[in-house]
């Protein structure tokens, strides 16, 4: 392959990998919003918590795969507890209170992280089997980034199966479009809410574990990813999983090719894209106007 072709393919792959990370974080955010109408400001903090639990489990077991399973489950359980004992009590009083509560939860998570793990960055290394580069023609690509892409696709497939092939998925989809009607049918909607919130935070936890070996695990980890995930959800349309997936990939590619061709504009391309989308379709690409 010619060197330019290799370069562009590499950039596309990097864009895809970053897009998949964005998807892992934004999927949970959009799911929670679509289902419960809550804009979970603490979502990125759960993502950060996933990375910290990954470090903790890894340092206790020495096994990345155990941490990939255990850390998101702990984050998901924390999400369940937050929904059950904090958010549910406020649900009857409207979304403003819930929104403020999620801000508070985010701050508590940040404070707790500093107390338990300190402020310094923590090391999480790439598992041995995923270290190194894979050669595809003239292209050399890090195996771990391929793993991130594969992981996100597997999670997307599992989510698709649950949402579109199971009764639970049917209930969740029903609740997303009309929670009151689902409630009237005798479904325990609060329990569904709790499940969805836990699942959404579990997804954030998976994202946190996935990025821990390539990013610095420190108390500021949530800031930038949180903002990017929020922009994805707004652009895609609140509550649209399909939209979150497509827009995440678009943003990933915009980021990579932006750096390649217009580096000075690269940081603002996604915001420009969002502005254009919202100007044309205020509810987002896949959002539905009420």
């Amino acid at each position: 392959m010619e060197s330019d072709t290799v370069l562009y393919i590499s950039q596309a792959m990097h864009g895809l990998a970053y897009g998949m990370v964005l998807f892992l974080v934004s999927a949970g955010l959009t799911l929670i919003f679509g289902m419960m109408g809550i804009l979970n400001i603490a979502h990125a903090s759960f993502f950060m918590l996933g990375a910290y639990f990954c470090y903790q489990v890894l340092s206790m077991t020495g096994n990345f795969w155990v941490s990939l399973i255990v850390a998101p489950v702990i984050v998901g359980l924390l999400g369940v507890l937050c929904e059950r004992y904090l958010l549910r009590k406020l649900h009857a009083y409207g979304h403003v209170g819930e929104l403020l509560l999620t801000v508070g939860i985010g701050m508590v998570i940040l404070g707790s992280v500093k107390i338990f793990w300190g402020t310094e960055s923590l090391p999480v290394t790439v598992p041995q089997i995923l270290k190194g580069l894979v050669k595809l023609g003239g292209l050399e690509y890090p195996i771990y980034r391929l793993f991130i892409i594969a992981l996100a696709l597997v999670i997307l497939a599992i989510m698709g199966l649950i949402l579109y092939k199971t009764r639970l998925g049917m209930i969740v989809r029903g609740a997303v479009s009309d929670a009151e009607m689902v409630n009237a049918l005798g479904i325990n909607v609060p329990a569904v809410f709790m499940f969805v919130f836990g699942f959404g935070t579990w997804l954030a936890g998976v994202g946190g574990v996935a990025v821990a070996p390539i990013l610095t695990v420190y108390p500021g980890l949530s800031d930038q990813v949180g903002m990017d995930a929020f922009v994805v959800v707004v652009t895609a349309g609140f509550g649209s999983l399909k939209g979150a997936f497509i827009v995440s990939i678009i943003f990933g590619l915009l980021s990579s090719f932006g750096v390649q061709f217009v580096p000075k504009l690269a940081p603002v391309l996604m915001f420009g894209f969002m502005a254009i989308v919202l100007a044309l379709k205020p509810a987002g690409i896949f959002g539905e106007t009420e």
Partner: protein, 475 residues
């Protein structure tokens, strides 16, 4: 009559000497490890902070927020110095011995908060000195407050040259840290005049004032010392970038032989980790890729061939060439073994560490103490009188000179070449004969003369016109 003249002459000489001797002494002071107090009870987790009639110093830094680690590090350095000075009985100012009272002033990395906290420190706490800080934007605010309320500020960490240009200069602030251009010139000098091998450079810095200043300094240095060098790419990325892969792919395709970066953590860490994961093993000329915890994460191979500008260090050769320097090393290191979190990590192990940053902060604060002592007062004008044109010799025998025209420090600095633990013996010449077992660290140190890496001077300022790099009038 003759006898009377003789007596008058003796009296006049005695009176003159009362003025002249302190003035002469004020010209040069030196750090003396043998005058240090017993530091065996020093613990940054439990500093003894005196109250009452003290010399009040506000350490302005990000004690909370994402950059809290930085303030934590400054605190360890400042409390170390204060502990030593206080155990010696304090400093004689205005006819009274006073101890150093350090106060935390948290700016949360926000300029608006910096203004608020500095004003509170000056107006309510009545501090005599403001010292700091991380972030040139925050340092700029500190300097503005210092100017407004006529309080002395010491910049011991913010590196932007622009802080002391015609627009921002204030006589109340002193930059004791080397500026961006100093760093850039020193690294360019190393590649152009010492190493003379790699010629293709790629500049990757953060997209704000500091990053651009770092790049400007390096380009200026290449122009001066390595005109045949080629800059094959130049990018500025946003702060706290997560994914460096697109930039690294460009670097790979550019044919660069060296990457130059001014990035600080977390960007520096993400950049290095991701570069090595992508198989990019190019040497990286840098300023902040020296944090030991991060170096351990990247490992020995990944940190090999780093080329680090050091703010503080020994002369060429071993890191501890004299018994005094070994003694000083133990003043810190022996206590470190007893400390608990967060001060029990690699970052604090060596005190001034291989990196030089912490060592430099400590020595810069000692310089401030020395200036207060020689001024014999906390009065800002007396401090300015002593500090302008002052020279101070640090524990490594590096002489810092405070350029009177723009208050920027001029000194020799160092470039360190990193290598694996088994090669570190040449540098770390005391047991266990390596800085760290789990990562590369300095194996060779090169001294860059002050003349070759002097900070720029803004000649738009009246006080800088027609002056040389030492601030002297050119005849």
């Amino acid at each position: 009559m003759k006898a009377l003249r003789f007596v008058v002459a003796v009296v006049v000489l005695c009176i003159l000497s009362l003025f002249l001797i302190p003035q002469a002494r004020a010209g040069m002071d030196a750090f003396d490890v043998n005058k240090m107090a017993d530091m065996s009870d020093f613990d940054p987790n439990h500093p003894v902070i005196p109250t009452g009639d003290t010399i009040k110093i506000a350490l302005v830094a990000s004690f909370s927020g994402p950059a809290a680690t930085v303030a934590q590090m400054y605190w360890a350095c400042a409390t170390f110095v204060a502990h030593d000075i206080n155990k010696r009985g304090g400093i004689l100012v205005d006819g009274k011995r006073k101890k150093i009272q350090l106060m935390k002033a948290d700016h949360m990395s926000k300029p608006a908060q910096t203004k608020k906290v500095c004003e509170r420190m000056v107006l309510h706490e009545k501090v005599n000195f403001l010292i700091g800080t991380n972030g040139s934007n925050n340092m700029k605010v500190i300097n503005q407050v210092a100017k407004k309320y006529k309080v002395i500020a010491q910049d011991f960490t913010a590196l932007s040259d622009e802080l002391y240009n015609a627009t921002n200069f204030t006589k109340y602030s002193f930059m004791t840290v080397p500026s961006c251009e100093v760093v850039g010139k020193a690294l360019a000098y190393y590649y152009g005049k010492i190493r003379r091998k790699e010629k293709k450079f790629y500049i990757l810095c953060q997209d704000y004032l500091f990053g651009h200043s770092m790049a400007k300094g390096f380009k200026r240095g290449l122009e001066l010392y390595f005109p045949e060098a080629e800059i094959v790419g130049e990018d500025y990325h946003k702060l706290f970038l997560k994914d460096f892969a697109p930039y690294l792919e460009k670097i790979k395709a550019s044919g660069a032989e060296v990457i130059y970066t001014g990035d600080w953590i977390p960007d520096a860490e993400n950049f290095l980790v991701q570069a090595r994961q992508m198989g990019i093993t190019l040497p990286v000329a840098n300023l902040f890729l020296n944090e030991p915890n991060m170096l351990h994460r990247v490992g020995i191979a990944g940190t090999n061939r780093l080329v680090n500008f050091s703010m503080c260090g020994a002369a060429e050769g071993s890191a501890f060439p004299t018994a005094d320097q070994v003694k000083y090393y133990h003043k810190w290191h022996d206590q470190w073994k007893k400390w608990k979190a967060p001060y029990n990590t690699y970052l604090y192990e060596h005190g001034w560490s291989a990196s030089g940053s912490m060592g430099s902060y400590i020595q810069q604060i000692y310089w401030l103490m020395s200036v207060i002592k020689r001024a014999g007062s906390t009065d800002p004008d007396k401090i300015i009188d002593v500090w302008e044109g002052d020279s101070y010799r640090d524990v490594f025998n590096t002489v810092y000179y405070m350029r009177p025209s723009d208050h920027k420090v001029v000194a020799d600095y160092y470039v360190q070449i990193y290598g694996p633990p088994e090669e570190q013996k040449a540098c770390f010449n005391i047991p266990p004969y390596y800085w760290f077992k789990g990562c590369s660290n300095p194996i060779k140190i090169y001294r860059i003369p002050a003349l070759r890496c002097a900070p720029p001077m803004d000649t738009k300022m009246a006080r800088c016109k027609g002056r040389d790099i030492w601030g002297n009038l050119i005849k």
